[in-house]
Amino acid sequence: MEHRFEIPASYKKWTMGLIIAGVIALVYGIFKFDPFAAVSHGAHGTAHSADGTRFWAVLLQNSTYWLLLVNASMFFICVTTMAHGGWQVAFRRIPEAISSAVPVLGIITFVILLALVFGHRTDIYHWLDKDAVAQDKLLKGKSGFLNPAFFLICSGVSIFLWWALGKKMRTLSLNTDESPMDYDQSKKWIWKNTVWASLFTVVFGLTVASTIPWLWLMSIDPHWYSTMYSWYTFASTFVSGMALIAIIVIYLKNQHKLPYVTDEHIHDIGKFMFAFSVFWTYLWFAQYMLIWYSNQPEETKYFIDRIGTATEPGAYKGIFFFNLIVNFLCPLLILMKKSTKRNYTVVIFMAVLIIFGHWIDFYQMVMPGTVREHAEMMPFEFGIAALFIGVIMWCVGRYLGRHSLLAKNHPYLKESMIHHT
């Protein structure tokens, strides 16, 4: 019975509570912010109400963040599989469960992107404005990929591939539960699993680690570009993905499940959270320093929108540096010691902090280019985040409730059980 997860009443209560809170926030937003108001087209561009912009900006921030976050856990499975790692097998079902939220969040995100494109939200994506593009040399040059058709097809195909390949990986894993495998069957299974994992990794590299952040997030500031941006986004979502895995593994440990997951596994997940926080900072800094050093007006605009200039501080200065403290200094100093990475309370605390920190990171990616200085951090913003968290909890609970918590016939299970760092 210890490998079965009966969803506790408190879990269901929290899931429903978060979803209801989120739906209330959404309905409130729809009535209060008038997000579907007709867009007037004038000679001087288009006019939008700041409230409508806020509504769509918050939806875009949350949908992309939570979708990329849950997708990162399938990437974790695939890279550890390709590295022939065995240590993660004892808790492998947890990242699988998290990645089962990809189809749901993928559809939500795609619907939001459709609404942005067909609602002609030029306040979010300036490149949707055909007249502006026609007069703009830079935007004209980018119109090869910054156009509605390419944007939607690329997004749709990417989401579909994450879904389909992730589903294949999950099915392969669940198939092993049926009957024990002998040596030859195990060998064959490992080979098949590795091939599909590498396919997912290639698709992941071509989408999350390069094109998708350009389309979804970087194109909010369409004149600006940074070659670091996609890696930066990837690092952000991967470290928060690891944090979510840590939270759910420790939650299940506290429910007296996952008997084969020891402090050694928690320690290694903690190392991932530590290492990728530093990796994120490296990319954050590399992007910042190159732009600071070369001091080109078209590049520095991105940072002037956020931190402002020496004489005039920007509206996002506080958030910008808060981001660095939460996502770099805290993980660096707190997770550095071995004992903290083995302490459930500290790891849970840091995981929540990291997920919140990178939510803030996405916030300062999306808001300055959309709502400008009118950004808010009110119950509406948190309510929409609660909606997505609730949906993720619902997907995770559904998957864990239906399947065994242990991939009991996985050929590397023994290796995971005796794992020692």
Partner: protein, 196 residues
């Protein structure tokens, strides 16, 4: 050359699975294990031996902090006080430009410092020699050295090791510290061992 001459009962094991319970039983019987020499790192052996966690990482942290402050202090002194230069119109206190160097010096100080500390703790240096209890400890034997005091009955220790599953047992009187120079001429080389 600290340490002095001491007497040891040395038992050699050819299997990890026998070594672990032997270590446990020897400690339980109250004998003092001087050290266990293994051909490769054995997971969990330090724990079984009851050795305290190394402080090497704390030393590494201190070296790293030293590197950080050295880099930042030195650069801010040079660029703001000693020889301020206008570089591309940037402020004299140009923190972003210094971060890579600060990072490099942090890594350099901690890496070099930790290697040297490690060598010091393990008595590793050119020409520094230590007594080897068994030449095959670097090849295929797990060698356990039990330290004897005046009151230890080494015959009892030998039979204890025999029961614990040691393949080879002998008594050695050896220098515990290090010395500079050569091994004794009569030290047997591995190629002269039986079974080479």
């Amino acid at each position: 050359m600290a340490g002095g001459i001491k007497k040891f009962v040395v038992g050699s094991f050819d299997d990890e699975a026998i070594l672990f319970p032997a270590v446990k039983n020897v400690r339980k019987a109250g004998y003092k294990i001087y050290d266990v020499y293994t051909p490769f790192p054995v997971h969990g052996l330090d724990h079984a031996l009851g050795i305290r966690e190394t402080s090497l990482h704390t030393a590494g942290f201190i070296y790293a902090i030293t590197g950080t402050t050295t880099a930042l202090g030195f650069m801010s002194w040079i660029f703001t006080k000693d020889w301020p230069l206008n570089i591309g119109g940037k402020p004299h206190f140009a923190l972003p430009a210094w971060i890579p160097i600060t990072f490099e010096l942090t890594v350099l100080f901690s890496a070099v410092g930790m290697v040297l500390t490690f060598c010091y703790l393990c008595n590793l240096a050119p020409f520094v020699k230590k007594h080897h209890f068994h030449p095959r400890a670097t090849d295929d034997l797990f060698v356990m050295a039990i330290e004897c005091s005046d009151k230890t009955d080494d015959a009892a220790v030998q039979s204890f090791l025999q029961n614990a599953g040691a393949k080879e047992i002998n008594v050695q009187v050896a220098e515990t510290g290090w010395w500079i120079g050569r091994y004794d001429k009569e030290q047997k080389l591995y190629r002269d061992e039986k079974g080479y």
